[in-house]
Amino acid sequence: MLTVENLSVTYYQHNLKVHAVKEISFVLEPGQTLGIIGESGSGKTTLGLAIMGILNPNAKVNGKISYNGVNLRELSSKQLNKYRWKHIAMVFQNGLETLNPLLTVKEQIMECVTRHLDLSIKEANKRVIHLLEQVGLEPFVSDYFPHQLSGGMRQKVLIAMALACEPKILIVDEPTSSLDAISKAEIVRLLAKVQREKRFSMIVISHDFSVISSLTSKMCVMYRGSILEEGLTRDILNNPMHTYTRGLINSSPSINPFQDLWGIPAANSKAGDGCPFYPRCSQRLDVCKDKKPKLEYVSLERRVACNQGGIVTLLEASGIYKTFIFKGRSIVACNNCHITVRAGEIVALIGQSGSGKTTLASILSGYLKPDKGIIKFLGQKVSSHELTCRPKGLQMIFQDPFSSINEGFTVLQAVTEPLDILKLYSPQERKEKAKKALFAVELPVDENFLQRRCFTLSGGQRQRVSIARSLILEPRLLIADEISSMLDPSTQANILRLLKGLQNSFGFAMIYITHDLNLARKIADKLYIMHQGEIIEQGPAGEVFKNPSSEYAKQLINSADLL
């Protein structure tokens, strides 16, 4: 019905070129609902205005926009006026001056009706009243001027106006921005209702996931004028494939009511000709700087624009078995365990003590040999500790900072130890790296501190030293085994925030092992629950907490009083 092909929009202002939309293509079927999400300035609204053909003259448009086979871009303004509002209408972003302040509501709706529909004055009057009633407004509102309306009423008038000529496509731009929670819910319900009744196609432009998820079945994620991900709304929300999409989801309070909110770090370098998200991506490679990724299918209904095909799967362990023989009794610690960790995500591994969490972690990090099972890191099969003894591999932080660090070492020795063992870099460089790592974990970096013996440090400081030690090899995956359980609550909060902050800026992935469900809910993206050596529940953290499937998980979550 509506096909957009290679659409580009460039604004020219004072010799400044701004590419607001870059070679975007998508198809909208009759009756389909499509969401477009992105941060402000990503070109969403420009896209909407381009489809309507009402961009400013200083915007240069390229590409094709066809509606029922007619290329709208080839039509004259006069011909286009026949399509505007009658076939494609728009609910503009609610602003004080979106409606003409000097004309009554009635006149502003009426002028669309009389222009496009062949109605008598009387019928047109009736239609205006009918439209107002349809969006839940009293007929007398028609005599109001825009400044006499509340924000919610104004939004309804905008919707009524857009529906005036029964359009086949409705573009809705930020329908709930600046509305309170109740009006917001009301507007979303209203839009869903009219769409269901009239069966028009709808494009919903918003930066709010809750709006997109309740109004659309398909969605595109836009960044700096490009579509980075496209697919079914529900799928994308449950399993984002692009780091940007995941970042957006992680910063949405409506999707993560319990998790700490972490925005995507701002860019510290400029995007070149390559991937537009390169400067902010947590799994960027050098290729991404110059190679612009194409939007390509990664599964049946999902397209992602990423040189690495979306978020990389870092670690994939499958069919892990481990049995201990203890005084002739065999204890199954791991029974057919599967675990998958994608780049940049936090996976919480939950279970009671003795459920086999630590055994699984030890197997993953290569300290323990499994009886059976395969571990793959970035698609490569690995065995024993080859991952932990290389940079950009896997590191572990242990529960007890007092025994995991040699007390007699100086701080410097403790932190540089991995480099010393692996004989990487010169001593001077090692020291620089140690300082950097200590700085990152917010410890002092002066000579005095570097030469202190570890036994003089407090528990919190020691845990920071051990985090610094694991960061020095720039791991892509960090396994943190109950790292905060021996710390007091305040130190625990500091360490966790620190770790999450580091994770957000460096972009490593983390397996966080804990028995503390409250903590897990605060930080985890994905959840694995272990019980008697088996993984009995897994999924996106929000889903699992809201709706646990196994009996044990229900019990666990109930006992923690989280439901």
Binding site: S77, L80, R84, F92, P101, L102, C112, R115, H116
Partner: protein, 324 residues
């Protein structure tokens, strides 16, 4: 409705403050009316003795204490009596009344001409913004509106009146003329009025152009213009109903401001053309320190400005529903 009453009350209070100022101002000025009464413009030939001046002062009440003078002033003001001109030897109101039509018709006509061309060209310029037409019009109009009106007047006077003799040099009508019919009379008045009207008109046009261009440009960038274009309604309706009604608001203010200045704003032009309006009268009155006349003129000007502002408020309210 109570808003209107409150506005009228405010108006009256303003008026009171102004008549008080009007009373004080001439008395604070240096000079003395009788000094000038006894001299022929500039050339000082004293023909009054000190004794006579004292007598005149007593006659006009200028020797009484200032508060007594003020009381008397307010009393006669209440009666509608503006006093008696010392210099012209006539009732002040009668003098002013004869001059008002000249000034008003001058301003009115020039505003119609200047406003008409100014607004149309301004809208055209805004519509074709940054185009060639806009660039030419804009720079011309800025230039025109920056020239002081009397300079334009003198230019016209030099070339059109003096050099080519197309128009009369001065005055509002031919002195001592005997008109065969009333059409001749009107023709004569119009003939004398053309240059002053055009001079003022050019100035007004520059003003109106700049105001309507800028408010039109501001309106073009408003969100509701995008909304209007998206609706697919005709360009005519977009321009007239959506753009112009909004752009008209500042223009209306300008019109009433201009009308308010009808009496006072023409001083320079009237003096250049020696046109018998209030502006010319004012200069004469100031030169000879004719207190009652000066006060009378100032009061007329003030009243005019106040009334026009009041009317501007009322008309504005009709146009803009947001104003309560």
């Amino acid at each position: 409705m109570s808003m209107v009453y409150r506005k009228i009350l405010k108006l009256l209070m303003t008026f009171f403050v102004i008549i008080t100022l009007n009373f004080c101002l001439p008395r604070l000025m240096p000079g003395d009316p009788f000094y000038f009464l006894s001299s022929e413009q500039g050339e000082i030939t004293i023909s009054y003795s000190d004794e006579e001046i004292q007598r005149q002062r007593a006659y006009y009440g200028l020797d009484k204490p200032i508060m007594v003078q003020y009381g008397g002033y307010l009393k006669s003001m209440a009666k509608g009596d503006l006093g008696y001109s010392i210099y012209f030897n006539n009732d002040v109101w009668t003098i002013i009344k004869n001059r008002i039509p000249w000034s008003i018709s001058l301003v009115f006509l020039s505003m119609i001409i200047g406003g008409f061309f100014g607004i149309i060209l301004g809208c055209l310029s805004a519509w074709q913004r940054n185009g060639l037409l806009d660039k030419i019009l804009y720079s011309t109009m800025v230039f025109v509106s920056e020239i002081p009106p009397f300079l334009i007047g003198i230019l016209f006077l030099f070339y059109l009146a003096a050099h080519w003799g197309l128009f009369p040099l001065s005055g509002g009508m031919t002195p001592f003329a005997d008109y065969a019919s009333w059409t001749d009379r009107i023709f004569d008045i119009a003939y004398h009025g053309i240059l002053p009207v055009i001079t003022l008109g050019v100035v007004q046009m520059g003003d109106f152009f700049l105001i309507s261009r800028s408010s039109m440009i501001a309106v073009m960038n408003k969100d509701y213009m995008t909304t209007a274009r998206a609706k697919g309604i005709t360009t005519g309706r977009i321009l007239l109903r959506h753009a112009l009604t909004n752009a008209a608001l500042p223009i209306i203010t300008r019109i009433f401001n201009g009308l308010g200045q009808a009496v006072g704003g023409t001083v320079l032009v009237e003096n250049v053309f020696n046109y018998p309006g209030l502006g010319l009268l004012m200069r004469q009155a100031v030169l000879v320190r004719d207190y009652p006349l000066i006060q009378g003129i100032f009061l007329t000007i003030t009243l005019f400005v106040l009334i026009m502002n009041f009317m501007a408020d009322i008309v504005y309210k009709k146009f803009d529903p947001r104003i309560v």
